[in-house]
């Protein structure tokens, strides 16, 4: 009896080799400008273009949408996207900018769209020629998403939309929006319908986009106002009244399965923790910072705290690994639904500890030449709240886990 070492299938092995080879020669040069820390923080057109060019090149090389059918612009492979993601991370590649498209719109369209919708929408999504944003949240429908009030009124072969969406990441760059509207005010869950809205074309024709400023002082998300905005009925996904069910597909991917189809967003904590915002960065920071007159890396209390985060970071990666081993999984949603919760809190705690290591220097803004690590850590700490709040606050994530995995009574 010996231990079996399951390795890649032949297809996977060949694909992995392809990824390694291609990445070895095709990483884009470092840009002259500062790159954003994650897709949620893309602020300038030059950042966007640099990243879109990169996604397009990676798509052309077969590293994006690998597991989707070829007729929709995919690679026609099976269970290969995670390999591409792994190799992308290992190679230190930039992230892909079309995060809402890859992580949410693509699987939703794939599961709920018509053949025509899939052929039209998916290829430019994978190639980043069309950027996507998400129109779910509203001022009165944040954690309570089912309270959506934006109203689409049927008008023959089209719908007329009026309403107000908020926290819309990438809206100012987006061609398309996945849009959840109420179409029946008498029913809550059954009264919603799901559209794909060509919002860029709508600006000035019923769509207005107002950027919101984050607590860091940066742009990054938007309010979107609809006033008598018409959407053709063939841009509806699934049946009228099925919007909540379609949205659940989106959210399942947003909250958990996303990393299975797209490189993980939000700061890039990878299997090997090499990215700048990972806990490994704390070790270097601690060696350069001082505490009690000695390197902070010599302070046993900080050492303990850093190692705690290194352990959590590895556990996060190993959770993803284990999620793919059915024999070691008790409930299919148990690990995927933890993804956003654990990653966002890991990033937050990492950034918080980095600020502690910096001491007085953590008071400095990223524009100060003396700010350690370019001031990224206090900045990342503030931005981390975007991640613990967005996409269903972590409070809501805990409800979902308790209810769907542990079968506890619904809290709402």
């Amino acid at each position: 009896m010996t231990t079996s070492a399951q390795s890649d299938s032949n297809e996977q092995a060949a694909f992995r080799a392809h990824c390694k080879a291609w990445l070895a020669g095709n990483l884009p040069p470092r840009p002259s400008f500062r790159l954003p820390l994650g897709p949620l923080e893309i602020a300038t057109v030059e950042q966007l273009e640099y990243l879109c060019d990169w996604q397009k090149a990676a798509h052309a090389a077969g590293l994006v949408g690998c597991d989707y059918p070829r007729e929709y612009g995919g690679g026609g492979l099976r269970d290969c996207q995670w390999i591409a993601n792994h190799e992308l991370k290992a190679a230190g590649a930039p992230f892909f900018p079309n995060i809402v498209g890859l992580g949410m719109a693509a699987p939703t369209i794939f599961h709920h769209g018509t053949e025509a919708q899939k052929r039209r929408l998916l290829p430019p999504l994978f190639s980043a020629e069309e950027i996507w944003c998400q129109g779910f949240s509203e001022p009165g429908a944040g954690s309570d998403l089912a309270n959506v009030q934006a109203y689409a009124q049927r008008d023959g072969e089209r719908w007329i939309v009026n309403g107000h969406k908020v926290w819309t990441t990438l809206a100012h760059f987006a061609t398309w929006m996945i849009l959840l509207c109420r179409t029946d005010r008498a029913r809550k869950y059954e009264g919603m319908t799901y559209f794909v809205a060509p919002i860029r074309d709508g600006v000035g024709h019923g769509v207005a986009i107002r950027p919101l400023v984050k607590m860091t002082g940066e742009l990054g998300f938007n309010e979107v106002f609809f006033e008598d905005y018409p959407i053709a009925d063939d841009l509806r996904l699934d049946e009228p009244g099925r919007g909540w069910a379609v949205a659940m597909t989106t959210l399942l991917h947003e909250r958990g399965a996303g990393p299975l189809v797209t490189p993980s967003s939000g700061g890039g904590v990878g299997d090997d923790g090499e990215t700048t915002l990972g806990a490994a960065g704390l070790v270097e920071l601690a060696k350069r910072s001082y505490r009690h007159g000695k390197p902070a890396s010599d302070d046993p209390r900080l050492r303990d705290a850093i190692v705690q985060l290194l352990i959590r970071q590895r556990a996060f990666a190993q959770n993803e690994r284990r999620a793919a081993v059915p024999a070691l999984v008790d409930h299919p949603l148990r690990l995927p639904l933890q993804h956003k919760l654990t990653l966002s809190e890991l990033l937050q705690d990492t950034a918080r500890l980095a600020c502690e290591i910096e001491g007085m220097a953590a008071t400095l803004h990223q524009t100060d030449p003396n700010a350690p690590a370019g001031g990224r850590w206090p900045h990342a700490y503030m931005n981390s709240y975007g991640f613990t709040i967005a996409a269903g606050s972590n409070e809501v994530q805990r409800n979902i886990l308790g209810e769907r995995v542990l079968n506890l009574a619904k809290s709402k």
Binding site: S137, G140, G142, S143, D144, N147, V166, W167, L212, V213, K214, M215, G217, E218, Y290, R291, H292, G293, R301, L302, Q348, R352, C355, E356, G359, M360, A361, A362, T363, L364, H365, Q366, T367, D368, N370, A371, P378, M382, Y385, G386, T388, I389, A390, S393, N394, E395, R398, N399, S411, K412
Partner: protein, 383 residues
């Protein structure tokens, strides 16, 4: 000295605190503060340290620079417990002003034993604002650490780092080293050789600078070389207590503002305060604030009445307040949800002030390390 059960918080202290509360409600309400310091979200604002000098004049007119100055130097000679009450209100309003810096400098000057220091105290009582320049490049606030030296000609040379509200004050109280040890020096901000380089900082309610000193010859000696460390050690409990009080007041504002949001924001057909995932964190915020607040008055009272316990109590207060400020700040954003993450919401102003105060004069872990030396014994002392 007896240790008053009521911390010595008397009617005068109460009046000072109430007056401060009212003045700042009238002149530094959150809406007005946001208009003042957060009108722009451009990076350039990080070096500007916007404030309201007319409000500062009102504060001076009310005698707030004089409250901590001893009576013999023309001040009101109030106890630290009263000053803590005032500092709580400054924090609650998150008011940009050089008052915290000046109160801290006052306690340092009062611990000096020189005519120059008494003279400085008189000027402070009359409205001079002063900031302490006593932190080195590495952020250390230890009495012996400074990057400023007194050269053989008696001139100050070097850079003082992390000087608080440097852009608002009239003079600096500089820590400088010479072969005889650390001394303290008064330098006017417009003296020849003084260059103020504003830091870009996150906190919108203060400014910070590093101050380059080149051949500064007309500094007055407040504490002789070799006496500076004693002075700083003597004053330190007051400084820690004042900053801790500021944080406690700010945290209480954060708590009340977040609780109000939880009472009014409706999700799932209920005010979100109904949900224990919101309610219990709010209670935990309150519990932490109350612990820190009690320790602040304990520390102030010890400084006033029980000097042997002053350092211990002050470090406890600063540690508890720093931890409370950090935790309350994070939760105030999280519990506000998306709106709390925006520039237009007021709470980021307090969040950033708290993060700044949290590390000033040593963060919680630093204070606890010092407390451990005192309460457990130094490492290696146990057989």
């Amino acid at each position: 000295m007896t240790r008053p059960h009521d911390f010595g918080f008397d009617e005068t202290a109460q009046i000072l605190k109430d007056t401060a509360r009212r003045l700042l409600q009238d002149h530094c309400a959150p809406e007005a503060l946001h208009r003042l310091v957060a009108v722009s979200s451009e990076p350039a604002r990080a070096t500007e340290g916007v404030w309201d000098p007319s409000l500062w004049r009102k504060m001076v007119d009310l005698g707030w620079t004089a409250v901590a100055v001893p009576e013999h130097a023309g001040g009101f000679g109030m106890g630290l417990v009263a000053i803590a009450g005032l500092a709580e209100e400054l924090g609650r309003a998150a008011v940009p002003s050089p008052l915290i810096a000046t109160l801290c400098a006052t306690y340092v000057a009062a611990a000096c034993d020189s005519e120059a220091a008494r003279q400085l105290l008189r000027r402070i009582a009359s409205g001079l604002s002063v900031s302490l320049a006593g932190i080195d490049r590495r952020g250390s606030w230890e009495p012996e650490d400074t990057d400023v030296v007194v050269d053989e000609a008696g001139a100050l040379q070097g850079t003082a780092w992390f000087v608080q509200d440097a852009g608002k004050v009239g003079a600096l109280l500089v820590k400088a080293k010479s072969p005889r040890g650390v001394g303290l020096y008064l330098v006017e901000v417009d003296a020849p050789g003084v260059t103020m380089v504003p830091d870009a900082i996150l906190d919108l309610t203060r400014d910070q600078a590093h101050v380059e000193l080149r051949d500064v010859r007309d500094a007055q000696v407040l504490a002789e070389p070799g006496d500076g460390a004693r002075v700083l050690v003597a004053a330190e409990p007051a400084l820690l207590t004042i900053v801790a009080a500021d944080m406690v007041g700010a945290a209480e504002w954060q708590l009340q503002t977040t609780a109000e949001y939880a009472r009014t924001r409706v999700q799932f057909e209920r005010p979100i305060g109904f949900f224990q995932a919101v309610k219990h964190p709010l209670v935990d915020m309150m519990v932490q604030i109350d612990a820190a607040r009690s320790l602040v008055y304990d520390a102030a009272c010890a400084f006033d009445h029980e000097p042997a316990a002053a350092e211990m109590c002050a470090r406890m207060a600063k540690a508890a307040a720093s931890d409370a400020a950090a935790d309350v700040s994070g939760r105030s954003v999280q519990l506000h949800g998306g709106i709390g993450f925006t520039w237009e919401c007021f709470i980021h102003i307090w969040f950033k002030r708290q993060k700044h105060n949290e590390v000033l004069f040593g963060d919680a872990a630093y204070q606890r390390a010092r407390l451990a030396d005192r309460l457990i014994g130094r490492i290696g002392e146990t057989a």
